[in-house]
């Protein structure tokens, strides 16, 4: 077990907003997921599609 174990026993940190109450850990995970989704949409995907392209054909 790592000495850096941040999730060891100890009170968890929570964020309150109206009826919503969420742990910092969970909020971070959700935040990272949303960030990944946005990045996946906007970051260009390397496609060398000018080379090796072939027409489709009916099966």
């Amino acid at each position: 077990m790592s000495a850096l174990s941040i999730v060891a026993a100890g009170p968890g940190k929570y964020v309150d907003w109206g009826v919503i109450q969420i742990s910092v850990a969970n909020l971070t995970i959700i935040g990272v997921m949303i960030l990944l989704f946005i990045l996946a949409l906007v970051v260009p995907f390397p496609s060398h599609d000018e080379q090796g392209q072939r027409k489709g054909h009916r099966r």
Binding site: L4, V19, A25, N26, D49
Partner: protein
């Protein structure tokens, strides 16, 4: 309904793509991520609560719970199916789903106390208390136990004044409680030795392995819940999503636990059945989304897809 005019994907121009290499790269990425996250953040492992820990931390509550099991007033005693027929159970609208399951895990709450105590030898106080209880009629047993539970009462809480002895068995007024005080104290003593959960779980069978009785007794008391609520794991604390300490929990349970935080579910006796029913409905809607007009057109109305396929749209515009 418009005909689905999606063309065959095989009719489009193609380009080289290495699926196996993509899989291997993804596997390496996940191995590095999980190995790294595991090394840095580890995983929580808070030791299970023992009956002995409960007995030492809150002996009054354990005694009170034992008396409640004998009186048939605890949560498990008044649960209904699958443990007993002492309640109708929850309904989803008119449907008594809980009752339909049937009493397939029969638990007699008094047995949670008498079972472990009946096997004790060498403690004449407990043995004679057990014998007295077993010789009495059901009506007499209920009278003794209910009187003792009422006499113990409860501490002041939530704006309600204290009742009885304020939840302190040692301060109970004199009365006719039969063998109940001795039985409750006997269970506390057994818990202190560390032998209670073993007696409940193995119950004469060497291997045991089914902790139903121990967990029901533990959940009937306040200690388990107090420890959980202190860590934000309670039902009205979005607890289904959470873990102990700072560990990540189950963020994907957010919608399931959300309903418990708001009316009408937060004040409903049938909250569990109703939330489950609602979530099943929402899951079915998600599952059959392709067939639901309106919902299935949302991707057209909010064209996030134009980002995904921007290279293709640009190419098609050019030609």
């Amino acid at each position: 309904m418009t005909r689905d005019r999606t063309p065959d994907s095989h009719d489009f121009p193609t380009r080289p793509y290495d699926l196996v290499k993509e899989f291997v790269i993804a596997l390496v990425v996940v191995l590095v991520l999980s190995g790294g996250l595991a090394a840095i953040f580890s995983s929580p492992d808070e030791k299970a609560i023992t009956m002995s820990a409960w007995a030492k931390a809150d002996p009054d509550n354990l005694v009170t719970t034992a008396a409640g099991e004998l009186a048939g007033t605890t949560t498990s005693a008044t649960y209904g199916a699958p443990y007993n027929t002492n309640a109708e159970g929850q309904k989803l609208g008119p449907l008594p789903l809980q009752k339909w399951g049937g009493v397939r895990i029969p638990i007699d709450s008094a047995d949670l106390v008498l079972g472990p105590l009946s096997n004790i030898s060498g403690d004449t106080a407990v043995s004679s208390a057990v014998a007295t209880w077993k010789a009495a009629t059901p009506e007499q047993r209920t009278k003794w136990a209910t009187a003792y539970v009422d006499a113990i009462g409860a501490a002041a809480a939530d704006g309600e004044p204290a009742t009885g002895a304020g939840g302190v068995p040692a301060k109970v007024a004199a009365g006719d409680y039969g063998p109940v005080p001795a039985l409750s104290a006997g269970l506390l003593a057994l818990a202190n030795t560390g032998g209670l959960e073993g007696a409940l779980t193995s119950s004469g069978n060497f291997y045991g392995g089914d902790t139903t009785k121990s967990l029901l007794l533990l959940a009937d008391g306040a200690y388990l819940e107090d420890q959980a609520v202190a860590q934000n794991l309670g039902g009205d604390q979005w607890g289904m999503m959470n873990e102990v300490g700072n560990a990540p929990g189950q963020p994907w349970m957010w919608l399931y636990t959300f309903w418990y935080q708001v009316k009408p579910f937060s004040t409903s006796d049938n909250a569990d059945a109703e939330v489950w029913g609602l979530m099943m409905l929402l899951t079915l809607l998600l599952m059959f989304l392709p067939f639901i007009p309106g919902l299935r057109s949302i991707p057209r109305w909010i064209p996030i897809h134009r980002l995904v396929w921007r290279d293709y749209y640009r190419r098609v515009q050019r030609t």
